[in-house]
Subunit: 250 residues, 8 copies
């Protein structure tokens, strides 16, 4: 029962003033968050899909959550083989991406105009880059990827950068572990914002992504911002949000 | 002497093959970085101005650097009073912004179409927000600011958010110290990407910006990325880069 | 032999002054800690039961400890399956709570008047919330629980809060991992004290409960206090202590 | 114009359905946070006064904030001499507490029934204990204080504990730096909840409150919860909230 | 009134059973800590004097504490010039040791048989070594000192070691900052226990005593134990306690 | 050939001056470390046996090392079951102590006069206490042990302390994890030096021995020194060194 | 087509000015990184071979990478048994070094004149020393090794040092865990530069290589530089680079 | 009296066997460290001068140390103005280098054949580079310096690198703060070893040199080793040691 109906019923005397106020309050409570404050339509406007973080949940719990969800697109991330095995058995139509511990329920939306680039420094960074890619594609954004562009062969970044710029990407996700220098270099070459994703590779002092995160934050390159270690999902969402708003790219 | 001129002079016999090659090599060395690799024209295309980090330099050194620079726009950041005093005396046309420890030489460019929002959680976060604002304005981007929208009065964010969305901002910079929750909340309400700037306020465990940085990175809100503690300049540049590429906003 | 009996025996001449003093001294040593200093009757007055921390003990050791205890209520926490398996076999009357790694020997006491609320941010926080619930119930306190009230759907906290307030809870335990913002939000809504429990979820910088703990401590919300990461037992005891002293709730 | 008035005007035809809905929406937006979600009446019900954290603000800013506030009670905390000097000059009726860097505007409320205890381990912890005391008194709660009850003379805690228990305190705030063992000892003796406040005393490994905070969190004593290092205000508010709800103490 | 007097008065009828019990209980409470538990006579038996940690106290407070104390020996440590100046003025008989920020009230006791050695790695470590020396002398222990025996000239330790061994020291305090290797070397040469004191010298990674503390703890040399960074007092007390118990040295 | 023989042979003309000098130099090089500098006779005088740290070595390597050693006493510590299994098979006379991951080759020496006390806070600390005990016994020192004297039942320490003091122990090893308060309490009661051993129990902030180590170092109790986390061997050696030098105990 | 050929063709009219410029630009882009900037001929001149870090890669990926490489020498490091097993099966000519988790494809180059020394403190450090040895040998450098020269027997370093100096080594790699003191001692004895390699041995505070790294950096010994924890490869390369440039050693 | 003289005197009967042995032993003790073990002639062979670390010493102490030293070359580092002022007054011939807080007593030695390069990333790194330069020059090594070659203008390193390589430098010191990427880039371009010096510039997470140190250690570039934050002296000594041994450079 919406506001106008309540008003009408009240006018017609079908509702007392008290009853009308109570109903309006109920509508009010329902609406908080749903329509104004917490913007439940955010998904509709921005297309950021819901993501289930599987790692700290039991496979059965994840299966149950995924089963309940019957419309729209749903991503499952940081899933172990035991999660994926159960999902594969239980939900025939689900798509499994074992190389990055993910699963996707529902179809990807139509492609929007915007595009993003995704670059990794090494082979070990590819699973996190795949997270970013799936998230962005789930938001209707095309991804142009260049994997294994290490900083050791810094010159190898020239060609990818030219291709990305020619492709009119609106943002570039750069995934790197170890000393994490690649996002800074890419950012210094890029006319579009760069989102750095530190990965938990490397050992010794500064290993497990700490040095990579620190370097990206400490870097003086304006135009570079960062998400948490191994958070490919977040980087993909941010880049896709930048690209998804663009109607002015060819 | 550019490539074509060299070729012509060589054809005319004014240059020997050796001389021509040597000149081409020189052009080649000059060009590295300048035109291709390190993209010296980045500034021209993106409008990110050069920034002098004054804090670890002597006032005299900063003055000298600023004097040398005779075209374009130049920002001086994290300047102490002694830096600003000397600059004020030495360079009459410089504009001083004491409230955020900055100075600007040169005129701001014409305004582009894009706009950004800048929000602070508390009064103490305003100087860092001012850094972001000056950087963005130096890139031709209009800033709509809402200061002192603390998380304590979370509801106070409703109206600013509506105004920012109605103003078609392309990105929102959120500056917050202490527990740093505001960027997460703004991000959950925002259809555009949010750049969080942790500030070095707060005391005890997690003080000096550590908790704020950690919360922003740990937050699960997709669409939120982060710059280093107190790096208003970086956040302003990232947001302005997102906005500056937009030709499709009203 | 208590003080008066000693005095009487001394008066009657059954004890010499030396013997009387010696007996009084023995009573004295017995009493230290037992009746005055270390308050062995604390359990009786407050009803905080003894808790065996199983995790760093061998299953056999835990079984032996539990067997020895033949009166009152005893909780076993942070138990692995191997502990619970052995306890289940060895002590038929024990109650096993596998979902939170706990076991309980003895009956819960009669319910007191006081009540507490327990809220979790996510599914992964439920086992720690169960610790708090069992501890509080073992102290005679009724628990009203709302699980999986994530900060992402901040508006979902409205209804639980109203129900908790209407139920006259005397304290609210809030269990949260990741960025740990929920206790701050609950505290800002709550007329009763809130006890935050950070949980060791989350990955990357600030993972394993560090960010959650830091946020709760850094938060400026008065009325919020904190226990250690994953210490559901401690939070349950604190909340139950607050509630258990209340005789003025309906 | 409240909901009922709107309904009445609508019924009388003074408002169209659209106008009525619009007014209801406006009421709705006004109310969010103010009456339901963010509970602006929390202060009224709980009596937690607003606190201005002076340390990171300029004296002039603090003066301005305090001047604006013209009703109710307002606390200023972590103020330096320069803050207090200006406040003293500018606001004649303000009360200055230099020993703990605080100022209070407005009168303390009538005393409630509840009482709390405040104990410090050493002389250096007294300013933080004073913060807790002023906060609690500003919430109408009487404080019984015992300062300088160091753990070195552990036996010196016997008498204070007996007096606190006889005084029917509802909670005890324990302020301690260095190795921070006192709250654990007090908690093991106390039938009421204990709130530990680590202070930034001590030097070397674990100095500046880190060891004190860690010990309080690591302690296995159920019934002990903790606030951030040097956060006397938060501890006072939590203890006063526990005590303030009690109508059943003599 | 001691236990026997109470018993006698009771027998004589001067006290009722109730009065006698009450008096015995009072004696009991007085005694706790004083004679049994907390061993107030520890000082008498071990000769460890009380130490006032001046650093976090106001000069006036320190003066007041020192004045109150009218018997026995009292040490003031980590005192700044302002503390020492006031003490010098206010208490004519006090002895001031500015080079290590200490003051001593009262006479040193007669020398016991035991002796200890104190060695420093560098010049900067001497003030902390002086703390240890004064503490040990205040416990009646003679100290044989060798300052500035750096690890750089490792061979320079040969002679001091021979002299210490020939002097029958019962323990050796070794004070070292930077990489803190000296205590390990001394320990490997020493037939008596070594107490390492890390000092807060050094800069960069591991500076401020962190590396020194870590090295001493990580060292595999059996017979080496450690006190906190800059805690010369604690090391002196430990060494003096070892030496003070010895009646079997020449 | 010793110095005197060389001199004699030289005098007799059996050696030229050059040959004599060369032989003296050889003796000299042999002696460095062996007899003077590095005190290879330390073991003989102090009785500290060699310890093989098994944890980071392969079982085969440990077996080989132990086999080579054919005289004196040899301890193997931090051994896993696979190490102990192989040692048990390969060296029939070895004694295995599985409860603390140790093995001992060779006979313990005759008991000296000195004695030490060993106390643990909890059950989980017993293996580390056993390390200390075996090390001390391997140095001829009798150990009086009290296990599971937790700080929770602080009064339970009264009786053990009295027994230790009556037994004339020369030092007390106190093993504790979690918040690590027991060594401080024991030290405040003890007329002899206390060596604290933090253990890697506890979870959350300050877990794994960090809080215990910090508390012991931060504690202001003079007479308490500390070894590294879980280093029972080091504590046992230090305590035994203190006790082993005593000829004046009954 | 090189620069001169392009010039000639242009002169002959076989190329237009535009075509010539385009070809020159292509040469230019090809050259960047390849011949000038990123020095792809570094390997040729310095002989530092490529190293594949296996640990974070799947065995199949490593096999594929190694197979593709068909000339020169290739090292595989930090390989687990599963990597080595697959490499052994798939590439018959590969040499496997299980003791240090490495494999080598291709022949070692001819020995250069330069030599280096490699020393380890303990048995556990040998695998990391083997990494350094294989890397150096792959660069044509002979290695003289002394393993298990612990700091405990500091005098045992005399003879190795004399042999290394007599062998005219140009640099010494010193591998040490625990407290990491050996490189400092070696450096103080060495006329050539020392490269310290901390290893991840040791437990408790400062374990896992942290203390070793810190000590080596904090050490004041000039001539000592450091690589990351467990980075034997890096140390071997640095030492071999120093030695490989030497043509002046016998 | 040297060994041969002793032998002669003994042969002549001027010395008894006992006296001869005693004298030989004294020679023996004198020699330890001086001629064999601790290599006091290291300075002579390697030319590493002694360095007085002024920062933690009083000006008067530094003056006294410098005065005592009457031959050879002596460096004073990390000196404040108050140190330099006193040295300037007290020792007329001393050379003061205020820009890097150093002073030099004695003349630099003759130049050796070897040369090194020194590069800084920014202006703020110059004082630390000057430390390296003075140290190297004090060892007779010529330094070719390029200051302010920031990573932002990465291409600006091309020309300096070419010049350094053409100058046949034997090692390159690279000084950098912030994210510390420059040493990695230089190392990837360099045929000679690179020594990285992190500097304590930068703010926020990873500031004060932590990120720079971490990046240099985490970097995978073989041939790069590192000294502690701000340790220009150590880097200069290491580089000069590499260069000083070279007799094969033009």
């Amino acid at each position: 029962m919406d506001v106008k109906s309540i008003l009408e019923s009240f006018k017609k005397g079908e509702l007392s003033a008290d009853e009308a106020e109570k109903l309006l309050r109920m509508d009010y409570i329902d609406s908080i968050g749903d329509s104004v404050l917490f913007d439940s339509s955010r998904h509709l406007r921005t297309g950021i899909p819901e993501v289930v973080y599987a790692n700290s949940k039991k496979p059965e719990t994840v299966l149950e959550i995924v089963r309940k969800r019957d419309s729209g697109i749903l991503l499952i991330s940081k899933a172990k083989d035991e999660h994926l095995d159960l999902l594969e058995k239980g939900i025939p139509e689900i798509r499994i991406f074992r190389e990055c511990g993910m699963a996707v329920k529902g179809e990807f939306p139509e492609k929007k105009k915007g595009r993003i680039g995704i670059i990794t420094a090494g082979t070990s960074d590819i699973p996190i880059a795949m997270e970013a890619k799936l998230m962005a594609e789930a938001m209707g954004i095309e991804c142009i990827t260049f994997f294994d562009i290490g900083v050791a062969g810094l010159h190898r970044i020239l060609e990818p950068m030219q291709k990305l710029i020619e492709s009119h990407v609106s943002a570039i996700v750069v995934v790197a572990g170890m000393e994490g220098a690649l996002p800074t270099v890419v950012s210094s070459l890029s006319p579009v914002p760069v989102i750095g994703v530190p990965t938990s590779t490397g050992y010794g002092y500064g290993g497990n992504g700490e040095c990579a995160l620190m370097s990206m934050l400490q870097s003086c390159s304006p135009g570079l911002s960062v998400v948490n270690i191994d958070n490919g999902i977040g980087a993909g969402a941010t880049a896709a949000l930048i690209a998804g708003n663009r109607s002015d790219v060819p």
